[in-house]
Symmetry: C2
């Protein structure tokens, strides 16, 4: 199914130009009509153009009428322009059917937009690292993306780690899914751009953050009351961790998760295939979801955003990632 | 002047034992009576003992009746125990004359204690890296410490960077001095432990944080309204920055400071000799200060905490660090 895909750069400048080119080529090979924003390859310091350039690119993405707006990459740049983002234009574009997809630094736009307008965006792949992955795009990622563009996705699932085989939690219904990159999300706390979600499902991932820094951010969210008012916390992938041999002495993401569980009544799930990893599912930030488990298998289900567009959803939409 | 100095470990386990021993030796050589907490050299994971052990150590420091309570080192550990710190006992000890000194992770205790009780602590040296510095303790640091233990310190001063030669700001009077490590302070934002200081002088330092991360934290504090309600923001030393050649392209602490100045009416000063550097002055977190400049020379003045203890302060207390 040919879709109109708009590619733009709201954050850092492209570093891996080959990956970017591979990603564009792959999206075209999938049959899509790919439109590249005029400033997608701009460079200003470490940014994909100065703040005004990137804001204009985001506005063009909102005005593009595309089916999907994809970012070239994450990095850093959106928190600088939170006060100037075209929130209304983005919400209007989403209402008209443009799906905004991204991750990492994009977490700031997603959660700020949800806080300001209630609009739903997708945590998911970027053009360079994902579609342009040098080992080829990940199958599950592409299947989830295909679900999105074909309007057939209705949920996702994964298997919890073996160490959590005994974990039980009450099924969650009608809860707002939100979150993304822990560091970027935490950098919104205390500002008007942090979503005031009660009884939601909060998912988190991060990369190149030592577990002590992850723990400090989790404690901040906990002490701010954010974690305690959710229905569930879901850990995605925490990658790029450099342990300090002879010093960490057993302090790890496992101890961080175990300590969080001990201090929180809210269930803490792990193993979500999302983060700075090739195998990433797409997750609708701001959508209502249900979540339940059968043994170690978790099912996260959301409704159709555009219910009029399809009626054959029963056959589709569960790309279970183990 | 012999003082009773109590040494304890509220945060990370000692890694550099030789530096710790040198620091203790140096404090004794200065004529002080040094008491080492029983758990000062404890190890649990990366911490100087588990949470209960470190909390007990902090309580013993508060009960010690010492003139000065010094931490062995910073690191990580205090944000884990913010809900359980002995705030009242610390405030009572300070009221009775014990001066609590530290930096880095200690920023969390200092600002939380000020938020909860209004008590004043000192941002300043630690035993290991400072008194036990392998090149010998820094002269200015020791002179400032001597001011504290002799009760004769009444302020400090420094020269602003040449690039700020034209910077003008209105003298500040009767403003609360607060702050410390930017990363640790920001990790309190949104929690009950972040001080609600209006019209204060906020000083900040950090180490091994890329300028983009520094900027993101400053933006968070700005968007939360914290920076805009201060009388002045004072930058200490930002050290250990690894630039990314061919990528940062001019993005640096200078651009971070310049952008902050452009977006804020509050004066932003630089050059404060404080941070993860040998030459660090002592700064009373929670005290009322005045600040003014003559050309590039800034004078930061606080009152005596114990006015009855000395009457010869006119001859002392300005260790101007250039």
């Amino acid at each position: 199914m040919t879709k109109h895909i708009y590619i733009y750069s709201p954050s850092s400048a492209i570093r891996d130009k080959a990956a970017f080119r591979r990603g564009v080529k792959r999206l075209k090979a999938l049959g899509h009509e790919v439109e590249i924003d005029e400033a997608a390859q701009s460079v200003h310091q470490r940014f994909a153009g100065d703040d005004a350039t990137r804001l204009a690119a985001i506005s063009r993405a909102a005005a593009s009428g595309a089916d999907v707006a994809l970012i070239t990459r994450g990095g850093y740049g959106i928190t600088r322009i939170l006060d100037a983002l075209p929130y209304k234009a983005l919400a209007k574009a989403i209402d008209k059917g443009t799906e905004f997809v991204g991750c990492s630094d994009f977490t700031a736009l997603q959660n700020a937009l949800f806080a300001k307008t209630g609009a739903t965006t997708w945590s998911g792949p970027v053009v360079g690292e994902d579609f342009g992955n040098e080992d080829g795009p990940d199958d599950i990622m592409e299947a989830c993306f295909d679900d999105l563009v074909s309007g057939q996705g209705e949920g996702t699932g994964w298997r919890m780690p073996a160490r959590d085989a005994e974990l039980k939690f009450k099924p969650v219904q009608d809860a707002v899914l939100w979150g993304g990159n822990l560091c970027v999300l935490t950098s919104l706390l205390g500002t008007p751009y942090f979503p005031a979600v009660e009884k939601g499902v909060l998912f988190l991932e991060d990369t190149h953050e030592h577990p002590y820094r992850v723990e400090r951010m989790l404690d901040q969210l906990k002490l701010a009351g954010v974690l305690g008012r959710q229905r569930a916390i879901v850990f995605g992938q925490f990658t790029g961790i450099r342990k300090v041999p002879g010093y960490d002495r057993g302090f790890s993401m496992h101890t961080v998760i175990d300590r969080l569980r001990a201090s929180l009544k809210v269930p803490v799930l792990a193993g979500l295939p999302f983060g700075h990893v090739p195998t990433k599912v797409l997750l609708p930030v701001g959508a209502k979801v249900s979540m339940a488990a059968e043994g170690r298998d978790v099912f996260l289900v959301w409704g159709h955003r555009h219910t009029s567009a399809h009626d054959d959803h029963h056959e589709h939409g569960h790309h279970h990632a183990h």
